[in-house]
Amino acid sequence: MPTVPVIPSVWPSSSEWFFLSPVLLMAFWGVLVLMLDVLVLRNRTLLSTRAKWLGLTSLVGALAALGLAVGLLWPGVLATDVLSANEEFFNGTIAFDAASALLQVVGIGFLVLVIGLSMTWVFTNEQGEYYALLFWSAVGMILMIEAEEFMTLFVALETMTISIYILTGLETGSKRSSEAALKYLIYGSAASALFLFGLSWVYGLTGTTRLAAVGRALVESRTVEGIGGQWTSGLALLLVLAGFGFKVASVPFHQWTPDVYEGAPAPVTAWIASGSKFASFIAMIKVLMLALGTWSVDTGHLQSPGWVVILSILAAVSMTYGNLAALGQQNFKRMLAYSSIAHSGYLLVGVVAIGVSSQRTEATGAVLYYLCTYGLATLGTFAVAAWLAHDVGSDQIDDLNGLGFRRPVPAFCLAILLLSLIGVPPLAGFFGKMLMFMEALNAGGNGGIALTWLVVVALLNSVVSAFYYVRVLKALYLRQPGPAIGKSFPSGVIWTLVIAAVATVGFGLNPTALLDPLGGAGISLLTSPEPASSGRPVDSNGITQSATVPENPAQTQVPVAPAPSASAR
Amino acid sequence: MNGLWVSIVAMKMAALSEPVPWVAWFLWLFVGFAGLFPLLVAYIVWGERKVAARFQDRIGPNRVGPFGLLQSIADLVKLLFKEDFTPARADFLIHALAPVLMLISAMLSLAVIPFGFGSVSMRNDPVTGVLRPTLTGFSAVDLPSGVPYLIAVSSIASLGLFLAGWSSRNKYALLGSMRSVAQMVSYEIPQVLATVPIVLWSGTLSLTGILDRQVETGWYVLTPPGFMAFVIFMISSFAEVNRAPFDLPEAESELIAGFHLEYSSMRFGLFFLAEYMSMFAVCCICTTLFLGGGAIPFLAFPRGLLGGYVVVDLFLNLITILVFSLKVGLLIFLFFWVRATLPRMRVDRLMAFAWKLLIPLCLVNLLIAAIWFEIVIRPVAGRPDGPGFLQWWIGFGVTALLEVLAFFGAVWLYRQDSEHSLKTWRSSTGSKPSIIAWRSVPTKV
């Protein structure tokens, strides 16, 4: 008989809050910046002065948060092995393990670059609100990465998304910005509703909202009942995938992408393309692997082919559609939007690879590597878009004509980033793609699905993508300079570009520097925190985890492999 | 067929209400809600006319019956026999539904009021969890979540108000209902926030529970944060029931009659009834939450005697109900007094008053209430003798000081702001217009 559970329901200890300090700092810093604007600066100073001070304050806050996050990574501060096995961290709502510790550094790093980018250009009257919302969306983003439970995940996702809706519409006096925000809001609300509906179905099926517990419940019921092939699970799975599909801009849910990317102020677009996508993909991997791992492949029933097949199709369609649509674009931001859809496709290949590969942690590491490098490259390219919008007053690719002669350094950086986005060998983009595709071919672990066709499609698409990226390169180096090109680059744009380019080259030449820690993060990302063995039977929903519950059959449980080393490959 | 239907319904109702005696339900419904309360309201109207007449140096109704006591009945008959008129283009069903909704809202909020002490039974203490004798309260229903229930049902009234204005197809009616919805939505917030300290101190949402705590520890209005909450609650209640000086929705001089412009006959009578009944209900709520319900000042007197014989219980309940009525009567007199004294508020100041003065004050008051809780209530939770003399006075001193500071601070800020608004309004309408100045202009509703 199951014992009456002792539910750990306590206010989190101070050490738990301490591990959350970067997030807390950002949340409070948002309030601080807002108050600084509303109470001190507004109606007293000129807009430019206000923007400068608020930007600097925000930058200081973001750098401090970055410092804290890095500090938590410092050996000794964070006892990783203890924490990763702790299910009682914040009563099981979030996990703070190697993955979250590392990935939050990346997220806050993106935030720092976006804030630097925002400082170059006064595009809104609502400066305080702008930076505050930027901070708060980062809070949502990081908690979304760390979430171990559906409710936290959903609330964090909404915090991130709603802040970004508003950021999208904040450009003063721009109708396109308002239009983009409205479109984003409407599509986004519908997608969120579907997502929540799907989550509620999963809750109804399993009686818990914790990712790990959902995984366990599904495994058990599968062995008994064969849940994988039922309408219920199929519906739940489709709804959850629709929600994530919207967030990562994969094809049937991509309609918002071009308009929002084009209409939003360039720094916000950079934030959507890097931060939001980064967090959404990580949350997606977590949900699909930890909770819904059982549904990855079909179980012989026709109704539910499993998410591996669904995602493979989505990936192929996203890549093809994104690349083909990008071919015809004249607008730089719109072209990048379609390229972002295409990259979602590549990344979905990676997610599928995690589902099928025999080396899941390596596959996860590869996806994370791609996410990081892609985020950096996007930030760099959108920095150029910001410069275009700010100084040239236009978004067209033709406005970049001859930039290589007039401004060699930024042009060279942009060229590097574009080449990396194509996937040219010594650069980081190449390694990301190569690793992901290799893992997709490395099937055999889970049902032995060969994804050769998907990889072939992805490779063909990479070739197609080269066309439109090269068009930009051609504009940079082979065209006569236009009249507007003489304008100087603001320092924020230069910094972002240089950091992105250096990182791209550096991680391209030495991928293990990034792959090793990310692979380690991949392990803890795919490992659900085990129930504490202290005789404190826990589950956030009151499910007693008695010791007699049999260990899962190998299907969903990710084997905890030793730290992978990329050099082994 | 019909008989079958009726018998099924009867069976179901019998099964549903098994734990509740039929008789009590019947009495409450037909004697209380259908008989006594409307009658009471009729005499509240009479009282208002008399009081207002005294304020204006008149005599008031004195023709129908002794002291004009039958005046309300005569008015009722008049209303019943007038032509029931509905505008041709009006939305008939909604037009008919609106006054009923308002009346329902007022009646529903009366359902949870403990008019008397009821009896005594053993219940868990909400703070310590220990079983102890607790008042059961003489109320139609004792809901464990009574306070949110009150908020919920009072929000139905704004729906009725809105529909009344909308369905009439009349500009003035629509304007009146727009004003009223904005007003009610805004003033609901300070009203609710003012009840939060009470809930915090009592540890329960049940009105009976709150009454019980007050009988034990003293009335909440006698504590500084409680007094502040009482004042804020009363002010926002004036606005919630659309009484002067907040009677903008029906401002005669601007909107003719506002939302009930197109109503006549007994439908108008229902609005009339609903308005006075919600005033009565609000006074009852206020008495229960702040003024110790039916408790005699500074005494826990009938409490110890309850729970013995039924006859004694009934007699003691009669006393407590009388005390309760007295308190409610005083509050209702306050309503009359204010109406006879203060002019109507200006529409743009109305919103600013709620959002910029009452709500911040409420939030600060909540913090001070928490200080009171920590000093006076929490340390003695579960002890029978309650807070010591010194402790009570320390708490009183500290919170009273803070309340005074908070009050003057809030008023000072409010004044600063309204002066600023006025200045910018003048500068924006002056020779040198600027867009920024336009923003600070108070929003008109």
Binding site: P8, F90, L235 | I94, L174
Partner: protein, 242 residues
């Protein structure tokens, strides 16, 4: 009148259905069927009503019936909250929104053609079928459920009698992080709403009362052009240029 007739007819049909189909009528089941039937009718009315306010009213009725269902599930606090939030706030705001945007004095509603309604109907019915099949097929989770210990009688009573208290404790302890995060979410929405709803000035207006366009070099030219060209949607020309 239509509303009243519809609802009463629905109750009657539901009652008959209950007698005919279920054969046995425990009081609770009967009440449930009637409430649920009325709720379905109200939901249908929400979709089919031609007048937006009528539609919103049906929605209000639906919310209220859902609150009734909560009461049947002994979740009284939830029912109260349902009325408070959905009728007291959401419905009122909805109607306010309709009133401020539509031609409220008339009943002008564009009649949707069948062609436009058909896809919606197909999707709705399809979803219904999927849900129905899914519910019908729902796997028996008896095994997973046994893990969850049945609450003791005392615990159950405590929760039922002090639902707000238990809920509050749970929110402040076990769910404290999502709870705080919801606070942040609401703050962000509020701040954003204020920021978006502010009357749009031009970027060049810098300080209180002192027009200072010339001193800002960072003002993007295309924006200034846009403002000067009058394409600016919300700027008030009467105040911008005398």
């Amino acid at each position: 009148m239509l509303l009243l007739m519809l609802v009463s007819a629905g109750m009657l049909v539901a009652g008959l259905w209950e007698i005919l189909i279920f054969r046995e009528f425990g009081p609770m089941r009967g009440v449930f069927v009637q409430i649920a039937g009325a709720a379905v009718l109200c939901a249908v009315g929400t979709v089919l009503a031609r007048n937006l306010i009528h539609s919103a009213l049906y929605l209000v009725a639906f919310f209220f019936l859902v609150a009734c269902l909560f009461i049947m599930l002994e979740a009284e606090f939830l029912a109260v909250m349902q009325v408070l939030v959905f009728i007291g706030a959401v419905a009122i705001l909805l109607m306010f929104g309709i009133m401020l945007t539509q031609d409220v004095q008339g009943d002008q509603v564009e009649a949707h053609s069948v062609l436009r309604r058909l896809p919606a109907a197909i999707v709705a019915i399809g979803l219904f079928v999927m849900l129905a099949v899914a519910v019908q097929q729902r796997p028996d989770f008896s095994k997973a459920r046994t893990e969850r210990a049945a609450p003791s009688v005392a615990a159950r009573e405590r929760v039922l009698n002090q639902m707000p208290q238990e809920l509050g404790l749970d929110l402040m302890q076990r769910w404290c992080l999502p709870f705080e995060l919801v606070g942040l979410l609401l703050t962000a929405s509020l701040v954003g709403a204020v920021a978006l709803a502010q009357p749009v000035g031009s970027l060049s207006a810098g300080s209180d009362g002192t027009p200072s366009p010339g001193s800002l070099t960072e003002t993007p030219e295309h924006l200034s052009r846009e403002v000067a060209g009058g394409t600016h949607s919300s700027s008030r020309p009467d105040l911008v240029s005398p």
